[in-house]
Each structure stands twice: as structure tokens, then as C-alpha cells.
């Protein structure tokens, strides 16, 4: 219900600071923006009233072709116009708001502004429009009583042809200030606070905020009992009798309307006016509804119900503070009044409340109830308790002025227990210069602080600075806070930038980052994989699909959607989803991701430097997936990724039979990745069942490497050997062996078998026609060399025979 911005009237501001006419609202906004708050917009009130003038209706006849329309002659000063009008209340002699051709109006008060053009309505010419208040944005000043009603301004007795904005005095500009930019400034929630800033920015005097002391009157005084002074450090109240609730005077209506507030009645308007003036929310109770005129400030009872002003029934708990009498609740303190205790047209005596509530408590209550009001928005910023009295005085002053029969009843009662820490803060000029990097004169520092309300005493090379109450509740407590005050008022743009000087020692290298980056570059640039970024969250459904147990997963307490409440333990789950989402139209998908996973069984960093409790392990993993439709052995593509990495940046990484176990894997197409003795990852084909759980159309090859492990183990060895001086003899050999014979075993058996054998490499594997079902054909390439001399045929033959013998003997190989 509350807006995210506050409106500030430029005319209202000017009551407190003498700005010459040469300074525009836009300039003030720009300076405020640069030094104080976020001003989103400046709007001139009369902006949309161009070509809208006072018209005098000379005649209003029935439209010849329409029952509900009237044909009017309207005097607009220099001419008389024929206007077709649908207004139910239009009569000859009435003064109206006439929008001439060229004016901008909102048809029936809705939609965008539209420029008026000459029109024919039911075959009759109309040279403009007689407006309803909603059609020209004046609904707040002239509330509509009936849908068809046009705005009657006869009472303004203006000359026909006078611009309407002039007649209504709509010459104000309104600044729209973003509430968020005020969150740390309790003093800026009213015009006077903003005026104080403006005075400093333009080096003008701020007018003193004067209010009359409240003279006690006859009759019994209000009584106040505050049960919790921590949550209510100050409560000031006074009763005023002989009040007549009714419409507000024009000036008050206009002031409120300028800042977007609708006039309710004189009493409510006064409380709103004072709030917008000083920033202190007030509340008015009907004294007749307060038992014994005794106000009790107490905690709500758990489960207590209360109907607020807006008609909603609220359920309360004991953490919330209530304003009550001895028998019932009257208001939720600092948040909203009750439906039943408010003032009505029959109210004769009112009680004004001007209080101060604990900021955290108000915020807690309004958040818990989902109820934010202009009052709660202010109290939760830590309002200055000193404001309560001047605000009450101002309200009483206005009530006595507006309601001639009103009288203060009894005396002002106060229940207070508060203290404000006003310092002083020692501010050294040396510190100021060191922090800013520029010298600002002592005189200028003194001017800025003094105008902002600080009491400044020269002390040594600096100042002793006393904090004004309105800045002492929250935002100013240390010298650095004063540095900011001085700097922002002096102007950030006046600070010349410079670059710091440092010793030229190179920064410590982040091994993991470097590795991540190399892996990314190789994957994208050499292996044509595409990098994806996924959320760190996974769903229970994904966990089920992959065959894992959700109990192992760390879960969010307040997930955004119920859908993905778990933290990923592995990057694969979301990558499989990426495959599914992209498989239409892509025959081959090669994706990878690098990111943190979260495992509670592993240990992470300390939660605090001097505590033993640890965060969960959050290693950085690399995972790549390969899926090509109709390729039933994507394992090889995945293995290719490992080989490329082992040939480039991860030389020690080895595909191994150990570490091959794990869920979601094809049981006979799975390998571990080892670095020395340490298992650092895995290489496998996704279990086809899991693939189909995810709706995948092809089989998936998977590589996973724990980069956090690898970054620490990574070693770069030089593998250079001198270029051979003597020629090699090369031999190829194809053998047929049983399918279960592993290449790695053959390799281990052969390497080192003869000193002449330099290398063995597999270049073809074949199964199928010409090889019986349980067998495969493997073709090897052998290089023989002696580094001392040229080989002779006989010795090569001898060595090669030795190899063949080993193959036959150890592997039952048949040479093809």
C-alpha cells in the first residue's frame, strides 16, 4: 500500500530555506542526487494543464441527436466555443475546466494522455472538452462524487480564459525520492530534513522550526502506561476537545495533494501534514473510545486478533507492540491504527499520539504482518525521539488554528526513557585528508558540519563534533561517518583521482583459477565443447532420476520454488537436463561446466576464524558430457577429452580400472581417473537407464574431474629427450585375442621386454566379420631403435620375435 518513493513539494521546501527564484527545482534535484538521495524525477504540477482554462458555460441545451449529451456555449475569454458535454451536472452559469484543442487529457480518467483535436460528436462540432477532475489529474483536489460529474469551479470566481493552473495555484514542482536511498537516513523522511540538506548544498540559511508550546487546558489529562520502554522509548500524548471533524482548508488540501495524499478530514490531514513536514508519524484517537482515557502500550498476546484501519483482520503474536486501553487494542504500535478507534464525524475529543518505537521491532512486526505503512517505514529507520514533542506541538497548533472551538484538555503527558549518544566525535584534519586524499579547508569543514546541525568546537588540529539528535540514532557515530558528511557536501566530483603506489611484487598465483581457465580454453577451442552455466540447485526429481539419495544433499531452508530445493553434489544433473532441452535439432551435443558442488561429508573452510565449526566441502569440479545420436560408444569421445587434457595441462592423469564404481554408470564402460595414488575423477558412459529417465535420445559419455584436487597435484615435467641420431626400424603386427584382453595389460607386458623396443602403439581395433564372436583383432605399431648405432635386420627380427612370443604365451594371441 505504501509507495516505494516519497514526494517532496518544492514550494513546501522553500518555506524552510530561502532559495532565489533563479534556482530551479531541477537544479535542487540534481544537487540532492549528487550529495544526498536518489531523486528519480521532478514534475511540474501544471505540466499537464496547458491549454486548460476557466470556461463559463453560457448555455447548456440538449444535444439534437443524443439524450445524454448537452450542447454548450462556453465563454473562454477571447472567444466563445461550442462544446459537446456528457456531464450530468453541467448548467448555464457554471465555471468549468475547459480543455481546448491541443490540451492533453485522459479519457474518462483512464489510459494515456491524449491530445485533444476538433471533433464531431453525433454530427455536432465540438471545439474542446469540459473536464471531469479525473481527466486532468486533479482527482485529489476535486474528488469525483459521481462518474458523470464534471469539475465545478464556480466557487473560485475566476475570469473566463484564465489558465486553470494559475487559478488553482498549481505552480509547484514535485521531487520524487527513492525510499531505498533514504534507508539509513531517519532525518530525511519529511520536508524539513530535506530542506536542511538543500540549505547546506546552496549555502543558505535553514529557518528554525518553530512551534508553540502547548498550554495545558481544563479537564482531565490523558494517562499513559508504557509496559516496555525498550520497544517504546518515548510516548507523548495530549487530548484536544471541542474538535469538529470536517473538510480541511484549501491550503492543507493543496499541500497534501501536491505530494500525492488525498484529503480525508481535517484531523487526519493534520497528522499526515506533520508527518510529511517533520518525518514524525502521529496518530489521532477518538478519546471517547479509549476507556478511562488511559493508553497502555503493551505487547500483543499470542493469537490476539485485531482489525486494522484497512478492514483486514490481523493475527498477532507477543513480539508485537500494541497501543491499547485497559480493555481492548487500539492500534498496532507504529504500524497502523484500528478500524474501531479511529476518529469519525461525531468525534468531539481527540487524543494525539506522538511516540517513538524501536526500529527493529517495528520492522519485524510490519514484515511479519506483511503490512507496511508510511508510519512503519519511518519508525523502522530509527527516528529521533526528540522529534516527538515538536511534532505534537505542531499538530496541536494546527488543530487550534483550523477548528475554532478546539481546546487543549488537560496537560501533555509523557512517558520517556531514552538517551541519544551525541558524542562528541574527535575529527582530526589529518585523518580527513588521509581518507579523502585531498585537502579541504578547515573553514569549509566547519561550515558543512555546522549547517548540517553538528556542533563544532576547534580542538588541536581538528574538531570535537557533537552529533545532532536527528543524526545520532543510527547513522553517525564515528569519525569516518563525518568524513562522509564532509565529502558528499564538498562534492565527489571535486576530488581529483589518483593511483596508489605499490611495491612491484607479483600477485600470488591462484592455481585453481589458472587451471579452470586452461581447461575451459582447451574444451572450447580445441575440442569444440560449449560451456554452460547452470544453477547450483537441483530437484528431488533429478536426484531420483539419477538414482541418488536426496538425504545426502544439503537443502535450502527457503527455496524460491519447491522445485529445486537441493544443492548440487555433482554438475551432471543439470548438464543432463541441458542435453534434454537442446537435443531437438542438434545431432551432436558437447557441453561442459566448471563449478562448485556442495558435500556435507567433506570439510570446507571455517565458519569463523576463531571457531572450530566448518562449512561443507565445496570443491570445484569439471564435467563434460558428449551425446551424439546413433553413436552407441560415446565413451571414446569422452576418453578423447581426458587424453587431450593429459597431453596438455594434466600430464599425470591416468585412466584406470580402479575408481570405476559409482551410480548412474554403465557397469562395463566405466573408469576412474587417477593422479598418482589419488582418485581425481571418472570417465564413463551414463547408464542407459538414467539416460532414458532424463528423456535422452542418445547415449552419453561423461568426464568428471575434481579440479580442486588436481590443481594441488598438478606438476609439469619436462618430457624432452634428445632427437635420435640413428634410424629406427618400424614393424606393424595384427593379433587376434579374446575380447576380455585389455590393451593396458598388453602394453605393460611388452614395454621393457626388449631394450630395442622403443614404443608400442595401438592403431586399430576390429570386431566383426572374419573375427569370431568372442575375439577381437588389435593392430600395433612397434618402433625399434638403438641410440648408439644403426640396427641390423637380424637383431630387429630377434626382438620382434620375442614380442610375438610374449603375445602368444601371455595372451593366447594369434598373429594374423
Amino acid at each position: 500500500m505504501t509507495k516505494h518513493y516519497m514526494l517532496i513539494s518544492y514550494q513546501w521546501l522553500k518555506k524552510y530555506v530561502n532559495l532565489p527564484d533563479s534556482i530551479t527545482a531541477e537544479e535542487v534535484a540534481a544537487r540532492l542526487k549528487a550529495s544526498t538521495v536518489e531523486v528519480e524525477n521532478v514534475e511540474f504540477q501544471g505540466k499537464n494543464l496547458e491549454n486548460v482554462v476557466v470556461g463559463k458555460v453560457l448555455s447548456a441545451e440538449k444535444h439534437p441527436n443524443a439524450d445524454k449529451l448537452k450542447l454548450c456555449k462556453v465563454d473562454v475569454g477571447n472567444e466563445k466555443l461550442q462544446i459537446v458535454c456528457g456531464g450530468s451536472n453541467v448548467v448555464a452559469g457554471m465555471l468549468v475546466a475547459l480543455a481546448k484543442v491541443g490540451a492533453k487529457v485522459k479519457w474518462h480518467g483512464e489510459g494515456e494522455l491524449i491530445e485533444l483535436k476538433p471533433a464531431k460528436i453525433r454530427d455536432v462540432e465540438s471545439a474542446g472538452m469540459i473536464c471531469a477532475s479525473t481527466e486532468i489529474g486533479l482527482a485529489e483536489l476535486f474528488p469525483l462524487k459521481d462518474e458523470k460529474e464534471i469539475m465545478d469551479i464556480t466557487h473560485l470566481k475566476a475570469r473566463p480564459g484564465t489558465p486553470l493552473a494559475q487559478v488553482l495555484g498549481l505552480n509547484d514542482s514535485v521531487l520524487e525520492i527513492d525510499n531505498k536511498s533514504l534507508s539509513n537516513r531517519p532525518d530525511l523522511w519529511g520536508h524539513y530534513g530535506i530542506a536542511r540538506e538543500v540549505a547546506v548544498l546552496f549555502n543558505k540559511n535553514l529557518k528554525e522550526y518553530k512551534t508553540d508550546k502547548i498550554k495545558p487546558g481544563k479537564g482531565g489529562a490523558v494517562k499513559v502506561e508504557v509496559e516496555n520502554t525498550k520497544l517504546c522509548p518515548r510516548y507523548v500524548a495530549v487530548a484536544v476537545s471541542g474538535v469538529k471533524v470536517g473538510p480541511s482548508p484549501e491550503w492543507l488540501k493543496k499541500s497534501l495533494s501536491a505530494i500525492g495524499l488525498r484529503s480525508i478530514n481535517n484531523i487526519v490531514d493534520i497528522t499526515n501534514f506533520v508527518m510529511m513536514d517533520l518525518g514524525q508519524p502521529l496518530h489521532a484517537f477518538d478519546a471517547a473510545k479509549v476507556v478511562d482515557t488511559t493508553i497502555v502500550v503493551r505487547a500483543a498476546k499470542d493469537g490476539e486478533e485485531f482489525i486494522t484501519l484497512d478492514g483486514e483482520k490481523r493475527k498477532l503474536d507477543s513480539s508485537m507492540l500494541m497501543i491499547a486501553d485497559q480493555s481492548k487494542a487500539l492500534a498496532i504500535a507504529g504500524v497502523m491504527g484500528g478500524l474501531d478507534s479511529g476518529i469519525t464525524d461525531q468525534t468531539n475529543t481527540i487524543i494525539f499520539e506522538s511516540a517513538n518505537f524501536d526500529a527493529a521491532s517495528i520492522r519485524h512486526t510490519s514484515t511479519k504482518l506483511g503490512l507496511r505503512s508510511d508510519a512503519s517505514a519511518r519508525f523502522e529507520k530509527s527516528l529521533d525521539p526528540s522529534l516527538a514533542m515538536p511534532a505534537l506541538q505542531k499538530a496541536v497548533e494546527l488543530v487550534l488554528q483550523i477548528c475554532p472551538g478546539a481546546k487543549v484538555a488537560g496537560k501533555v503527558v509523557e512517558a520517556s526513557k531514552f538517551s541519544v549518544k551525541q558524542g562528541p566525535i574527535m575529527l582530526s584534519m589529518g585523518l580527513l585528508e588521509k581518507k579523502i586524499g585531498t585537502k579541504i579547508s578547515k573553514k569549509e569543514v566547519e561550515r558543512i558540519l555546522t549547517q548540517l546541525g553538528f556542533e563544532v568546537k576547534s580542538k588541536g588540529e581538528g574538531f570535537a563534533v557533537k552529533i545532532p539528535t536527528w543524526r545520532a540514532t543510527k547513522d553517525i557515530s564515528i569519525a569516518e561517518d563525518l568524513v562522509e558528511e564532509i565529502l558528499r557536501m564538498y562534492g565527489y566530483d571535486k576530488i581529483e583521482s589518483s593511483l596508489p603506489m605499490f611495491a612491484i611484487n607479483p600477485p600470488e598465483e591462484n592455481k585453481l583459477r589458472k587451471l579452470e581457465r586452461e581447461v575451459k580454453n582447451i574444451l572450447a577451442n580445441s575440442l569444440s565443447y560449449t560451456e554452460v552455466y547452470n544453477y547450483s540447485f537441483v530437484s528431488g526429481e533429478q536426484i531420483a532420476k539419477i538414482g541418488d539419495d536426496p538425504a545426502k544433499y544439503i537443502a535450502l531452508d527457503n527455496p524460491l520454488s519447491k522445485e529445486k530445493p537441493y544443492l548440487r553434489r555433482c554438475l551432471l544433473l543439470n548438464l543432463l537436463e541441458n542435453l534434454e532441452q537442446n537435443q531437438a535439432g542438434n545431432n551432436t551435443l558437447k557441453l561442459f561446466e566448471i563449478g562448485s558442488v556442495f558435500r556435507e561429508e567433506d570439510s570446507g573452510l571455517r565458519t569463523e576464524s576463531n571457531k572450530d565449526s566448518l562449512l561443507p566441502g565445496q570443491d570445484t569440479w569439471f564435467t563434460a558430457v558428449y551425446m551424439e545420436k546413433k553413436n552407441n560408444t560415446p565413451f571414446w569421445a569422452a576418453r578423447g577429452v581426458v587424453e587431450t587434457l593429459s597431453k596438455t595441462i594434466l600430464p599425470g592423469i591416468v585412466v584406470s580400472k580402479s575408481g570405476a564404481d559409482g551410480f548412474a554408470r554403465h557397469p562395463s564402460r566405466s573408469a576412474g581417473l587417477m593422479m598418482g595414488e589419488k582418485n581425481v575423477g571418472s570417465l564413463y558412459e551414463l547408464h542407459p537407464k538414467v539416460g532414458s529417465n532424463f528423456g535422452l535420445e542418445g547415449r552419453v559419455g561423461v568426464v568428471k574431474i575434481n579440479l580442486s584436487f588436481v590443481a594441488d597435484l598438478q606438476q609439469f615435467e619436462t618430457t624432452y629427450a634428445p632427437v635420435p641420431a640413428f634410424p629406427a626400424v618400424e614393424r606393424d603386427l595384427a593379433i587376434i585375442v579374446k575380447k576380455n584382453i585389455a590393451h593396458q595389460d598388453i602394453l605393460s607386458a611388452l614395454l621393457g621386454a626388449d631394450p630395442l623396443l622403443q614404443s608400442v602403439s595401438l592403431f586399430d581395433v576390429y570386431e566383426g566379420a572374419n573375427v569370431s564372436a568372442e575375439y577381437k583383432s588389435m593392430a600395433y605399431h612397434f618402433i625399434y631403435r638403438n641410440n648408439e648405432r644403426t640396427l641390423v635386420t637380424e637383431e630387429v627380427e630377434k626382438a620382434h620375435q620375442k614380442i610375438i612370443d610374449i603375445l602368444k604365451k601371455s595372451f593366447n594371441a594369434e598373429v594374423r
Binding site: 569516518e480 537442446n582 556442495f598
Partner: protein
């Protein structure tokens, strides 16, 4: 015999002129120099019948004539070879507009990675360490250590993801927790950046994401001032948006800095004139910064009476969107190939 030699030469050179191709040239060569029946060969057979003196004299002439003829033939041959090659090469013409087939398929780095790499390089070149910290953080490092008290709105459930069963764990809401971790680990002087993933509990739409990337920076030493902060950030944004880029600072409240500022840079698209991107203001709001609050230095075991410094942070995700003109933030973490293939 000498006359005959001269005659052969004259006739040979004449005949050479009318030779049209390599075959005719070969025929002529055989006719003149062929071992069997070549005119010159045959003529020289008569040499042996001459006297010693005449043999020497004629022999010398014959050699000269033979050389002349040979070189004339060779020259003609080169001409033909060149002509032939030229013709052949012309026939070998290719359509150079045709792409190399099969088409080259390249991989793609994520746009955030591209931006992050660039900035890591820039900061490394200025002597900053590149750090990263835990994405699941303690409430202490994410809030308390940063001077964000328990009742601060930032701690609301609406903004922060909390962890079930661990009331003191959160998904980090910014990269700032690394400020205090780095201070504790490295002490002073300190220059570091933290690019990383952050989380806010807010509903996603075109402009909002619950998961996004930030880059945090910290500089601490004895005399690090507000003017230095301005200078460093100016360098950074000139690097990102071009050398004409200007920055503008305005007050902004963050609990962990004092003074705190909100930083804008001149819109790179319109160069500050005002356009749709910058909502006609000429400025883009891109970073937050400030002088590190003494309470934060204290948490980092750094004496605020001796040391001071600045911190800044900006959204890598936002920079990527600005740089590439990405209109929907959700695309960045969608895994959508149609999006990713463009980088």
C-alpha cells in the same frame, strides 16, 4: 665445312622461330642434334677427315655453334614450360568464396567467462590477486563480519537463501565475504579481486536472477584514499568501456563501507548524450564502492588506526548484458545452445 656449319646455325635459328609447341621443338632438336642422323652430328662426323689444324679450327667453331643452338633450344623450351604451367594453373582455379568443408565446428565460452577472463587479466596486471571463496558461506562472513547487524533488512528471508538445519549457513548474497577472509589470510598490503557466483532469494524475470556473478575488489594499505579509489575505478571502466569513459560517484549506503558510493559510468552507447540504454540520462549505474568501514578492517585483524582502504563491487552478469546487449538475464543460465553458440 665452316660454311655448312654457319648454314646449319642460320637455318636452325630460323626453324626455331616457327616452332609452335614442345613436340615440334623436340623434333627440331633431334633433327639438329640427334645422335643418329642429327644434322650437326652427321656433319661433325666429317671432322676426323680433316687436318690437325683444320680440326682444331673447325672443331672450335662447331662447339660454339652447338652451344648457341642448344641455348636457343633451351630458351624456347623454358618459354613453352612457362606457358604450359600458366595454362595449367589457370585451369586449377577454385571458388575461393566456398567455405572449407566439412564445416568447422567451434566450441564456445560462456559470455560471463569471456568478461571475467578479461577483467582478471586487467587486475592481475595491476598486481591484484584473484581469489574465490565458498558459495555456501557462514552468516558471520556474509553479514556480521561486514558490519551488517542481525536486524538489517539484507538478512531478511526474502533476500537470502538459508540452509536447512544450519541456521548459521547462507548462500552468499555477494562476493564481499571474501573481504574479511582475505584480510585474515593475507594481511596488508592487500590487493585482491573476487569474481564469483552469488545468490539472492528473488523471483526471476527479464531483469532479475536468483543466481548471478559479481566481481569484488579490495585495496588496503597505509594511505589508500578515496582519490585512489576513484582513480582505480576510472582505469577499470576505461578498460571496459573505452578511453573516453568518465565515472561519477554519488552517496550510497552500504554497511561495510564509510563513505559509501554508488558509481555510474558514461553510457558507452551514446557517449553520454542520452539514449534508450541509459534511459536518456547519459549514465549507467554499474558499481558500488567505498572506503572500508573500520569495523570490517577490525574483523579482518587489521588495525584501522594504521591501515585503510577501499572496496568495490559490480555485477559481471550486468556487464555481460550491457556489453552484448542481452535483453533477458535468464538466458545466461538457461543452457540454451541457441544463446551460447553466439559467443
Amino acid at each position: 665445312m665452316q660454311d655448312k656449319l654457319q648454314q646449319i646455325k642460320t637455318e636452325a635459328l630460323l626453324a626455331l622461330k616457327s616452332v609452335k609447341d614442345k613436340i615440334q621443338l623436340e623434333e627440331l632438336e633431334i633433327k639438329l642434334l640427334g645422335r643418329k642422323g642429327g644434322q650437326l652430328t652427321e656433319l661433325l662426323k666429317g671432322l676426323k677427315d680433316l687436318s690437325e689444324d683444320a680440326k682444331r679450327e673447325v672443331g672450335q667453331l662447331a662447339n660454339e655453334i652447338k652451344k648457341d643452338i642448344e641455348s636457343a633450344l633451351a630458351k624456347k623450351k623454358t618459354e613453352f614450360v612457362q606457358q604450359e604451367m600458366a595454362g595449367l594453373l589457370e585451369k586449377e582455379n577454385l571458388d575461393i568464396t566456398q567455405p572449407s568443408l566439412p564445416p568447422k565446428v567451434l566450441g564456445h565460452l560462456h559470455p560471463n567467462t569471456i568478461i571475467q577472463n578479461d577483467l582478471e587479466d586487467l587486475f592481475t596486471s595491476m598486481g591484484f590477486m584473484v581469489l574465490d571463496g565458498p558459495e555456501l558461506e557462514s552468516e558471520y562472513y556474509n553479514f556480521s563480519a561486514l558490519n551488517i547487524p542481525a536486524d538489517h533488512p539484507a538478512r531478511d528471508m526474502q533476500d537470502t537463501f538459508y540452509i536447512k538445519g544450519h541456521s548459521d549457513w547462507v548462500m552468499r548474497t555477494h562476493t564481499s565475504p571474501m573481504q574479511v577472509r582475505a584480510m585474515q589470510k593475507y594481511g596488508t598490503p592487500l590487493r585482491m579481486i573476487v569474481p564469483g557466483k552469488c545468490f539472492r532469494n528473488e523471483a526471476t524475470d527479464v531483469r532479475h536472477e536468483h543466481t548471478f556473478y559479481q566481481l569484488e575488489g579490495v585495496v588496503v594499505d597505509k594511505d589508500i584514499s578515496f582519490a585512489h579509489m576513484k582513480g582505480v575505478l576510472e582505469s577499470v571502466f576505461k578498460h571496459i568501456f573505452g578511453p573516453e569513459t568518465k565515472i561519477r560517484l554519488r552517496p550510497k549506503f552500504y554497511p561495510f563501507v564509510e563513505p559509501g558510493v554508488n558509481g555510474e559510468v558514461t553510457c558507452y552507447l551514446c557517449k553520454g548524450k542520452g539514449c534508450r540504454l541509459c534511459k536518456q540520462t547519459g549514465w549507467l549505474e554499474v558499481f558500488g564502492a567505498g572506503m572500508i568501514h573500520p569495523n570490517v578492517l577490525k574483523e579482518g585483524d587489521i588495525d584501522p588506526n594504521i591501515y585503510q582502504g577501499f572496496a568495490f563491487g559490480f555485477g559481471l552478469t550486468r556487464l555481460a548484458m550491457l556489453k552484448y546487449g542481452i535483453e533477458d538475464i535468464r538466458l545466461l543460465e538457461s543452457g540454451n545452445m541457441k544463446f551460447l553458440e553466439q559467443f
